[in-house]
């Protein structure tokens, strides 16, 4: 594991940039534990100060230092991403493994459900859901809901892998030695599938954190909890751009760009590392 990490750092520029960006966002998230005041408090600093040495991101019209606010925001957005990823991964792995290994009718039923979920436009459904739950939609609930919608792309990918693993000799050995099917795919197939799962996890986090931004901007999540999306929501509420408080929007945009680019570069670097064809091409074979 460590050797892989070292190699990627040495040979892949994207991985280096990704590590740097993610390190910065993590650092910001860790800063939230050192904040001098909780994020719900307002009017702790003078209002609308532009970025300076004392306030690197400036302060907003609600009298909050944007650095501390953003620290909480990035922490919460990351927590949301992780919860969604875990939930949707569990569903994706289960559906993918069962569908791939069992085949037949179960496979067809699961895959048509899967394809339906892929096609459904998630945003309007989530708008309806969060509209009805207004006020009661906490960050964790939102993360769980996103998890329920975020699995189908990966389930298909996992299924495709299992379909080819199923034909390999070790699967037959395991069947002949009497391993029950579920245990077999969990013990024999899952390890092969895990790298793909890891790569798509990052992609899933990009999706869920982006979705949170969208819903929060519409005012459909719990806007008292700082996230990247609610920061933009409050800036819009106070018409930051019109009032000339551009740094109120610049802070979440900057943090989001660094976070998203970091995650995406990590995804494409890892994805390429997993795919042996691209590695062979790189060394000129």
């Amino acid at each position: 594991m460590l050797a892989v990490f070292r190699d990627l750092l040495r040979y892949d520029g994207r991985f280096r940039v990704a590590s740097l960006f993610l390190m910065l966002t993590l650092l910001l998230a860790v800063l939230s534990w050192f904040s001098p005041y909780p994020p719900t408090r307002t009017f702790m600093t003078p209002q609308d100060l532009p970025p300076s040495l004392k306030h690197p991101f400036g302060t907003n019209s609600r009298g909050q230092d944007l650095l501390w606010w953003m620290a909480f925001a990035v922490r919460n957005s990351l927590i949301l991403g992780v919860i969604t990823a875990v939930v949707s991964r569990l569903i994706a792995i289960f559906v993918g493994l069962v569908s791939g290994y069992r085949g037949g009718f179960i496979d067809r039923a699961l895959m048509s459900a899967n394809d339906s979920f892929v096609v459904l436009p998630v945003l309007p459904i989530l708008v309806l859901l969060s509209f009805l739950l207004q006020g009661q939609l906490s960050l964790v609930t939102l993360a769980l809901l996103l998890g329920l919608f975020g699995w189908p792309w990966d389930a298909r990918l996992i299924r495709a892998q299992v379909l080819s693993l199923k034909e390999r000799a070790f699967t037959r050995t395991a069947v002949y030695s009497g391993t029950p099917p579920l245990l077999l795919t969990l013990r024999e197939h899952l390890p092969f599938v895990l790298p793909v799962v890891f790569a798509t996890t990052i992609n899933n986090m990009l999706w869920s954190i982006g979705m949170e931004v969208t819903l929060s901007v519409l005012g459909l999540s719990d806007v008292t909890v700082p996230t990247i999306g609610t920061t933009i929501f409050w800036a819009n509420q106070h018409q930051a751009l019109v009032a000339g408080v551009w740094w109120w929007l610049a802070a979440p945009i900057l943090v989001a760009v660094v976070l998203f680019l970091g995650l995406y570069l990590l995804f494409s670097s890892v994805n390429e590392f997993i795919d042996p064809r691209t590695r062979l091409r790189r060394i000129g074979a």
Partner: protein, 336 residues
């Protein structure tokens, strides 16, 4: 032909029906699982507005609302009635602009959304695929490497943020494009050259943001598809026979590499549609996204329901259309 119908057409149409069934059922179930009763919410909202309402009037209103939301009778009766109304195209009256039917509001918003979305999808898909194929085939071209880096840098950023930055830069900082809307408020909607020009000018910025975000994904996909295809025997053979590179690219590589990209488009439509909705909110473009925003702001429950239902049906139908034209591009499916 019979085999084609049985193996290709029938499963696609069955899938289409399943998607709509699932989507509509979800939209039916969600409000009924929610702890908030939309009727009570509407009533309390009215009572909070300060005007004095007699208790009898409240009871009458509660009954009227229950009827309107289709909440009377058992769940099964409600479910069947829900489908019945949907098939008749009756989505109820909008609550915020009562008594305009929801379907009428949607009908005025939809042309704007599709007028923006269809060109955006087509342009980004075609441009992304052509550039991606070139990038995969001519791996050491400088100009294309810059396109590669740029598209990868923009691609992961959420729609809302890209749109916001575009708006801030091109309408606020360097004001070369109008700030919001599809035409200046107060303009008469008519068929004339000057109106068409105004609409076009207003649509450039949202269109550009949609394309900017779209191109990257198709570019990356096509690039990797192409670099896998160039080692196939038939491409190597074409190269050995000394065919011009341009011809190999346009006749040997692109027609094959674009097939998975068409399937990819079908799979991405839901995501692209959701992105376009949020894009409209940023640019104040009068389509379904802005309508959604207004519905949320005005607590218009029937309108949100209508938008959700229509989005599901719209996206599913678009996917079906893509599936139906796919055989035109893939002879293997055509000649089963």
């Amino acid at each position: 032909m019979r085999k084609f119908v049985l193996n290709y057409l029938v499963p696609r149409i069955a899938q289409y029906i399943l998607v709509i069934f699932l989507g509509v059922t979800l939209t039916f179930i969600i409000p009924r699982l929610s702890p908030n009763d939309p009727v009570e919410r509407q009533v309390s909202q009215l009572m909070m507005s300060g005007s004095h309402v007699s208790p009898e009037a409240i009871i009458a209103m509660r009954e009227a609302l229950t009827e309107m939301y289709g909440l009377s009778g058992s769940v099964w009766e409600q479910y069947l009635a829900f489908w019945g109304r949907l098939l008749r195209g009756d989505l109820g009256p909008s609550l915020s602009s009562f008594p305009t039917p929801v379907i009428q509001l949607l009908a005025t918003a939809m042309p704007w959304t599709f007028g923006l979305l269809i060109p955006a999808i087509l342009i980004s898909w075609i441009v992304g695929n052509i550039l991606g194929a070139i990038a995969g085939y001519y791996e050491n071209n400088r100009a294309i490497q810059i396109v590669d880096i740029l598209s990868q840098a923009i691609r992961p950023i959420p729609y809302y943020i890209v749109a916001l930055v575009m708006l801030a830069v091109f309408a606020y900082w360097i004001p070369i494009f109008p700030f919001s809307g599809a035409y200046p408020p107060g303009t008469r909607v008519e068929f004339s050259w000057s109106f068409a020009w105004t609409v076009l000018r207003h649509s450039i910025l949202p269109l550009l943001s949609l394309i900017l975000l779209g191109v990257g994904g198709w570019f990356v996909g096509m690039k990797s598809l192409t670099s896998n295809i160039i080692s196939e025997d038939y491409v190597v053979y074409a190269e050995v026979t000394g065919l011009p590179k341009k011809r190999i690219l346009s006749q040997y590589i692109i027609p094959n590499a674009m097939l998975p990209q068409i399937t990819g488009l079908a799979l991405q439509l839901g995501l692209i549609f959701s992105g376009a909705l949020i894009m409209e909110v940023v640019f104040g473009y009068p389509g379904m996204g802005t309508l959604t925003f207004q519905a949320v702001m005005a607590n218009d429950y029937t309108l949100i329901m209508g938008i959700t239902l229509l989005s599901i049906i719209g996206v599913a139908t678009a996917v079906l259309i893509l599936d139906l034209i796919y055989p035109l591009f893939d002879p293997r499916v055509r000649h089963q």
